[in-house]
Symmetry: C2
Subunit: 425 residues, 2 copies
């Protein structure tokens, strides 16, 4: 009998080991933005067409914080934090109360929704940290989670890591106008099937589209009807272009009197404000979820780096006109790149309403999407992120983060145009 | 039938929700070091004896980085990192290769075991980050994990969070001499029962004891025999007092020719070097586990804050004599506190061989261990961590991190002595 138990025990151990192996296999990061350096690609692996097209390397996998530098005064704020010493080094796990209260006020003003610094907000290690903690706090084995296709690549990975069950909902960003294009019927079906969490980015990463007020209202109505928790990643919600309106889900949620424990909003200064090197993010909303996130942060990283937290004082307190100027500069780059891309035959691209991502759909190519991305890197000194990181149906799309030196970005996208001409069927 | 499926579905959803609630309940952090500020205790909740004992507040829950400041030049290294700009802000997920290679060399020298910067090492958000990622990479549902009692409180929480099964092994640190006192028979039993991972700190947190060479050799022999993976937290391994020897498990492991994929060592500059405010840690060893840790870090926090990574250049490159001076200063505090504590009747305490923790066992008191800790805070301006954070059998112990202003620490422990006299049975 003991022997028999041992055998069963060993079997179970084997299964557990296979599960964890499978889990990490799915977590592949080789094609993730910024990881290209780990790929050992040589020209021999690819069927390359034509010669190299010389030019300055442009890494569109993330923004260039040398072209768009961090908020003026952020380094000085770090310095002050360092000089405070121990009190700044060791904050509560959810972050310094003084800084949380300051942020709460600013975020309430920005979103038009009430935020309490003591109970409703946590400072995290980047918005990635906020996403991870929010997902871990709401997704357990078998939890059904709605994920938009396309959307930020980590969303899918988070659901898989926590053994949740992903229900994809398509967003037809290319064919609609005046709205993001989420299929609300499929969304309702997913909610009917028992989805408990809806995790999405707005503005959407990678498509750069913004959910319309009607879409926000309908998502909220459905979420309430089916008792779904919303995790809204608003990382790019400050970088909005001329004439674009934006509806903060949290503000609508509050106005509609919905359950304040069923929504978390995530935002941070890593993108528009170029502060990624400090690894700071914020989540606010449901006190219940925020409390879980803090408990978990205590074993994940203790807290966002104490000295770094001080930098948040400069966020939403930028010098007069600085943000307007930054948006204007991005809009100019966007317009130039859209013009180049639109002139490539059979390329389909929607002009982003917000954020610094472009997600064109390329014509049919002689190579796989992944191989084309590799060829761009090897032959054209252009690094982009393959569309399949964002949706299994986006093999023919590539993502550009156009927060770059303006001229370098224009030159690089012109090289991409040449490469498309070279590789198209 | 569909109806029946729905009912089953709902049941399963309920179970999943209860599981996640239970998981977060167990993750309680209210009594964790540094979280005392969140406790709303009033005198009315406790049966307090006597008046307050005035004095300067000493927070023994963590080291005082104002008393022992960060490595000279660390702030300048941060500044240089910030000035590098984008290349420093966006490193690989596992950290900057240049910094990893520098660290690998230094850690190889320190431990006497080979370390490759490209494949064997990851930079994390503090050693807490390293522990979390290492645990997540090796513990799945049902994985049996050996945890020492007492040991760092997060070890237990990590096993629970990943649905592992904890097998406790006692360490009789109070009654043995010349070794840590781990019960090696119980350890072998645990390994026989199918434990796959052994996670432990050396020097031990909270007891400050060091595993003897014989213990290290025997743990390695048993781990190899039963194919157990070791995660060795060496956070305090640089702060060793006069005459104390230390055996690096990784060095012995290598010398003995054991499987290099079954061991990970964790270390960081947060304690002895007072750099906790930068949130930096390192894990090195098994390339397989390090690779998993990187994949996971990509969704947990992307990377340790880029600018902060630059600070690691100063680690193990401190000014001549700086570390010796730091150890000497801690040894002097240790000696004074040990003298005060030893003179309290019925207090049992072992002199720490390394690190800055003291873990005395107090005599029987009129109040629970937790209430006494609260009384210390309210009446004596002394913050300590309750023993039950480290072991369920340590209710009568309290932990001091004595990396404090020397005189303030002495005064505070004298107040503790008065409080013990007041509350003892």
């Amino acid at each position: 009998m003991t022997k028999c138990n041992d055998i069963i025990e060993n079997e179970l151990t084997e299964i557990a080991m296979r599960l964890i192996e499978e889990k990490f296999r799915k977590l592949g990061t080789d094609n993730a933005p910024g990881q290209e350096v780990r790929q050992q690609i040589t020209q021999g692996d690819l069927k390359l067409v034509g010669d190299n097209i010389p030019g300055r390397v442009v890494d569109f996998s993330h923004g260039d914080v040398d072209a768009f530098t961090p908020i003026p005064g952020s380094f000085e704020a770090f310095t002050e934090g360092y000089e405070v010493g121990g009190a700044q080094a060791y904050t509560e796990y959810r972050g310094s109360l003084v800084i949380r209260e300051d942020l709460a006020q600013k975020l309430a003003t920005f979103t038009g929704s009430p935020v309490q610094g003591d109970e409703d907000l946590i400072i995290t290690t980047g918005t990635q940290g906020a996403l991870f903690l929010a997902a871990a706090s709401t997704i357990a084995r078998g939890t059904k989670v709605v994920v938009v296709q396309p959307d930020y690549f980590a969303n899918r990975k988070l659901v898989e890591f926590f053994d949740g069950e992903m229900i994809p909902v398509p967003m037809d960003y290319l064919n609609v106008k005046g709205k993001a294009g989420l299929d609300l019927n499929v969304l309702e079906d997913a909610f009917k099937q028992g989805a408990e969490v809806f995790l999405f980015s707005n503005p959407n990463n990678p498509a750069g589209v913004v959910y319309s007020e009607d879409e926000i209202i309908e998502i909220a109505r459905l979420a309430e009807k089916y008792s779904v928790t919303l995790i809204v990643d608003q990382l790019y919600s400050r970088l909005r272009y001329d004439g674009e309106s934006y509806t903060h889900m949290c503000a609508h949620w509050h106005k509609a009197g919905l359950d304040g424990n069923k929504i978390v909003t995530i935002i941070g200064p890593s993108k528009t404000e170029s502060m990624s090197g400090y690894r700071l993010g914020v989540a606010f909303g449901s006190p219940e979820i925020i409390e879980r996130m803090e408990k978990l942060q205590a074993i994940v990283s203790l807290r966002a780096a104490g000295y770094n937290q001080a930098v948040l004082k400069t966020w939403f307190s930028e010098p007069e006109g600085w943000m307007e100027q930054r948006i204007k500069a991005h809009q100019a780059i966007r317009n130039d790149l859209i013009e180049i891309l639109s002139n490539i035959e059979d390329v389909r691209v929607r002009t982003p309403q917000a954020g610094s991502y472009l997600f064109p759909q390329l014509p049919k190519l002689n190579s796989s999407g992944l191989d084309f991305v590799r060829a761009l890197r090897l032959q054209a000194c252009v690094i982009v992120t393959p569309g399949t990181e964002f949706s299994p149906y986006a093999e023919s799309s590539i993502r550009f983060n156009f927060s770059q030196n303006h001229q370098a970005a224009v030159d690089a996208v012109q090289r991409v145009a040449k490469m498309v001409a070279r590789y198209r069927i």
